[in-house]
C-alpha cells in the first residue's frame, strides 16, 4: 500500500489537534473503507490519525431517560450484539447484522460508517428513522446535529476540517416501537444494499400513533416519511409516496425505475410486517 504516516492519539483532544493540520490528514477508524481507497490510489493521504487507540471510545450505554449512546469507535459487530441495542433498538441490531460479512463487521466502526457518507450503507437509513443525532468534536469544541442534516450526499457530510464523529445517540422512544428492516441486494447476500428499508410503528398503549418509512441506499441521502395516527389502509399509499419522492441513483445494482419499483414493493412489505406485529 502507498506510504503514509500514522499518528496515534490517546485522547479526542489530541486527535482533533492532529486532524486540524491541513488537507491531506484524515482520521482512520476500522480502515475498511479508507484503506481500500488508498490501495486503489483514489486517496493519497500524507498522514492518517488512528482513532482505534482512543481510550473508552467504543462503549454503548443507555441513560435513565432512555437515550442510547453509541461511541463512534464501537464496531458494527459490537452494535449488532450489544444487549442494549438488541433490547431497545432491535431494528438497528438487525440492520447491522446485515452489513458486509463477519470479518468486516469486526473491524468497521459505526463512526466510520456514518462519516464515510457512502449512500449504499445499511446503518444510516435506520438511524435516520430513529431520529439519531451525531456528536462531532473538533478543536473548537463539541456540537450535535441530526444525522439527517449531517448526511449531505454521497461521500459528503457536514464534518468540518479537524472534526471527528465521537458518538451517535438515539433519543428516548415514547411508547413502544415495532420495527422491520428489509435489505435488498442484487449480488451476493453480503453485498452492499441496493435498497435498505426501515418501517417503524410507534404505539402508545395499544394505539398506533405514528408510522415511519425510511429508505436508505437508494438515493444520495436517506428519505424519511412520517404519518401520524396511521391506519392500515394508509400504509400502501406511504410506500407509493416514497417511490414517487425518492430520487434514485442508477448504477450496477439497478436503474432508477427498478429502484423506484423496489421502494414501492419493499416499503409496502416492511410496513405491513411492522403493522402486523404492532396490531395483531
Amino acid at each position: 500500500m502507498r506510504n503514509f504516516d500514522l499518528l496515534e492519539p490517546k485522547t479526542v483532544t489530541e486527535a482533533c489537534r492532529m486532524l486540524d493540520d491541513g488537507e491531506d490528514v484524515r482520521p482512520v477508524s476500522g480502515g475498511t473503507a479508507l484503506l481500500i481507497l488508498v490501495k486503489q490510489g483514489l486517496l493519497r493521504p500524507r498522514t492518517l490519525v488512528n482513532l482505534k487507540k482512543l481510550e473508552g471510545a467504543n462503549a454503548i450505554t443507555r441513560d435513565e431517560a432512555g437515550a442510547v449512546r453509541i461511541e463512534a469507535m464501537a464496531t458494527i459487530h459490537q452494535v449488532e450484539t450489544s444487549p442494549v441495542v438488541r433490547e431497545h433498538l432491535p431494528v438497528l441490531a438487525a440492520a447491522c447484522h446485515q452489513v458486509a460479512n463477519i470479518r468486516i463487521r469486526h473491524l468497521a466502526t459505526i463512526g466510520g460508517n456514518l462519516a464515510h457518507g457512502d449512500h449504499q450503507s445499511d446503518p444510516p437509513g435506520v438511524l435516520v428513522a430513529l431520529d439519531a443525532e451525531v456528536e462531532l468534536s473538533g478543536t473548537r469544541g463539541t456540537r450535535a446535529m441530526k444525522l439527517a442534516d449531517f448526511l449531505l450526499g454521497t461521500y459528503e457530510t457536514a464534518l468540518e476540517p479537524g472534526e471527528m464523529v465521537t458518538a451517535v445517540t438515539v433519543p428516548p422512544v415514547r411508547g413502544r416501537l415495532v420495527s422491520d428492516y428489509l435489505k435488498f441486494t442484487t449480488g451476493s447476500s453480503e453485498e452492499r444494499p441496493c435498497a435498505g428499508i426501515t418501517a417503524l410503528v410507534r404505539l402508545e398503549g395499544d394505539r398506533p400513533v405514528e408510522a415511519r418509512l425510511a429508505v436508505g441506499a437508494v438515493a444520495a441521502r436517506p428519505l424519511l416519511l412520517c404519518e401520524t395516527d396511521p391506519t392500515e389502509g394508509a400504509l400502501p399509499r406511504m410506500a407509493e409516496r416514497a417511490s414517487e419522492e425518492i430520487d434514485p441513483i442508477p448504477d450496477l445494482r439497478g436503474s432508477a425505475e427498478y429502484k423506484r419499483h423496489l421502494v414501492r414493493v419493499l416499503g409496502r412489505r416492511a410496513l405491513a410486517a411492522a403493522w402486523k406485529e404492532a396490531c395483531p
Binding site: 500500500m1 503514509f4 500514522l6 476500522g30 488508498v38 482505534k52 458486509a100 463477519i102 468486516i104 473491524l107
Partner: protein
C-alpha cells in the same frame, strides 16, 4: 514512520517494528514469513486472508498492523500441534472440502471463529457466518459437510 508493537502471534509474544502503512497481512506474510494466510482480493470481499484476532475473524488485508498491538493473533499455522491436525483441518481433509486450496486457510480460520462463538450452529447460522468466504473452486457443499461432521460430534 515505524511503530514498535507487542503482539502474540500463534501463541508466541513478539516485538514487531511495523510500518504505518503495513496491514496485518503484510506483516504476517512478508515479515514473519507466515505464508499460509493468502491475499485474494485485498479489499475485504473474499475471505482468503481471514485470521483470528482475540478469537474473532477479521480480514487481515484491511487491518492496520499497528492495531495488532496487545492482541492475540492466530493464523492457520497455529492449528496443527506436534504433527496432529486440528479437528477442523481433519474434517476438511475427511470431506475433501477444497480443490486448489487457495481459500482454505481463510475458510478454516472462519470456521474456527464460528465455533468459538457458537459451538452448535445450525445450518442457517453456518451459511450466514461463512457467506463472506468465497471459494472459486465451489467446494461449498463439502465445507458444509465438514462443519456438519464437527457439530454433530458430541463435544
Amino acid at each position: 514512520m515505524r511503530h514498535l508493537i507487542t503482539a502474540t502471534v500463534n501463541g508466541r509474544e513478539r516485538e514487531l517494528s511495523v510500518k504505518s502503512s503495513q496491514t496485518l497481512l503484510d506483516v504476517l506474510r512478508d515479515d514473519l514469513r507466515l505464508k499460509g494466510t493468502h491475499e485474494g482480493c485485498s479489499v475485504g470481499v473474499c475471505g482468503s486472508c481471514t485470521v483470528l484476532v482475540d478469537g474473532k475473524p477479521v480480514s487481515s488485508c484491511l487491518m492496520l498492523a499497528s492495531n495488532a498491538e496487545g492482541r492475540d493473533v492466530l493464523t492457520i499455522e497455529s492449528l496443527a500441534r506436534d504433527g496432529n491436525l486440528d479437528p477442523v483441518q481433519q474434517a476438511f481433509l475427511d470431506r475433501q472440502a477444497f480443490q486448489c486450496g487457495f481459500c482454505t486457510p481463510g475458510m478454516i480460520m472462519a470456521v474456527k471463529g464460528l465455533l468459538n462463538e457458537n459451538p452448535k450452529p445450525d445450518e442457517a447460522e453456518v451459511r450466514d457466518y461463512l457467506s463472506g468466504n468465497i471459494c472459486r473452486c465451489g467446494t461449498y457443499v463439502e465445507v458444509m459437510a465438514a462443519i456438519e461432521d464437527l457439530t454433530a460430534k458430541p463435544q
